[in-house]
Symmetry: C2
Subunit: 225 residues, 2 copies
DNA sequence: AGGCAATTTTTGGTATACCAAAATGATAAG
DNA sequence: CTTATCATTTTGGTATACCAAAAATTGCCT
């Protein structure tokens, strides 16, 4: 049974559709409809929906179809506050426990980001960025921490992707990442913590700007009315 | 549909059995067997099992019955490291955002703990202790943070309960809690952070001692061999 | 025309049946 | 006595059928 379970495949597919916007925020995802549409039975579809709900990408409602999450600015900010704390902790632990190889690999990711920025490859740049943060969480050698961080990151994937489009500050990202990597290489926990904190705070500001521009999610406001 | 779903009731029951030790760590919980035993079908039992697995109380194994989790010291320490960070953050945010009523309620919990300690009511003392920490997380007004903190806390419930039996230091707990409450009342984030950090560190030491005494879980060692 | 009520439809929740893969145990060969 | 292999059994995974509750619709009554 080395092959991933069907529910997991469905979850992966759904996650993909949600994060890429093929399934718009607020869209209903009835387990019957979606199951038939994807040619599977309700059981694994149900399980996949639960998985994504747990990840925060879907919201379950009593006696109604689950809908694609459309987080408010407050919710995103809360998530970012949380992820900030987790990444600061990750950085601290990684300074203690990361192997030289792992730090080298992180440096490698940073280098790849430089290349992608030079090549103006937005998507690759972004995905490597996510990988960079994931790698640090893994290097903390704290499995739960890594787990929760990954969950939070996937929850924020879409909004970070959208806000990162206005990439006036790719160079800032690279500079900050560079400081973080240097901190890790020097095993300087204070430096890593400080720079990580600052880095996430900047991301938070970017996202706030993004929300203001796009007008606080029309659909959300309508639903609240 | 105000009544909790059957799967949730099963999960609640199972959680109860696990935390109280009626289901020993390492015990197998096949969905067929347990479902028949509880007089329900496999479907909600399956869902309940997934819920508890997500909470970390059960561990899923490919093509084998799930078993009751029997965390290693390292895993518990990782969880505590994480919860320490989350509670420090909670305390900081609570200083900013908690209402006066909420802080008063937290003070009330502290007073109840004093009474329970005086009455030598272990269980009530412990449960109020848990409520104390939950209340601070809630007062942070960060829903995700509260959510994750609750999850982590329930995961650690059993080991904390067991280690808290050797309650030579109930007075220490009360003293530390008192400092935390005073910090909240004074909205002194630094004090709250510092005392929370210290408090959890002490708990961590207690639990380490508990593990050493009880000999690092025989069953775990056998299974690893 | 507007609101209310009965009915219809859709929803998730649950039970059950079936399947394929993997663990287990028995058995035979070395 | 050990080991390899084959049959059996048990497991979780999946599909399907049924149910009850709640949402949505229709049409009636005011």
């Amino acid at each position: 049974m080395a092959t991933p379970t069907l529910a997991e495949q469905i979850a992966k597919q759904l996650r993909h559709e949600i994060l890429l916007g093929e399934l718009a925020p607020g869209a209903s995802v009835g387990e019957r409809e979606k199951a038939q549409q994807m040619g599977v039975s309700r059981t694994p579809m149900r399980e996949a929906i639960r998985l994504l709900a747990q990840e925060g990408l879907l919201v379950l409602r009593p006696s109604m179809s689950p809908i694609v999450a459309d987080p408010t600015l407050k919710q995103v900010e809360d998530d970012l506050t949380l992820i900030r704390a987790l990444e600061v902790l990750s950085g601290e632990l990684a300074c203690k426990f990361a192997s030289a190889d792992e730090i080298e690999a992180i440096r490698g990711l940073q280098n790849r980001m430089v290349e992608h920025a030079a090549a103006n490859d937005m998507l690759a740049f972004f995905e490597t960025d996510m990988g960079f943060h994931r790698a640090i969480a893994q290097a903390s050698k704290n499995e739960r921490l890594d787990e929760m961080h990954g969950q939070l990151l996937s929850r924020l994937w879409r909004v970070r992707y959208l806000s990162a489009r206005q990439a006036w500050d790719r160079s800032r990202v690279l500079t900050q990442h560079n400081l973080i990597v240097e901190g890790l290489e020097a095993r300087d926990a204070d430096l890593v913590k400080q720079e990580t904190d600052s880095h996430i705070l900047h991301i938070q500001r970017n996202i706030q700007g993004h929300f203001r521009k796009d007008c606080p999610s029309l659909k959300t406001m309508e639903r609240q009315a």
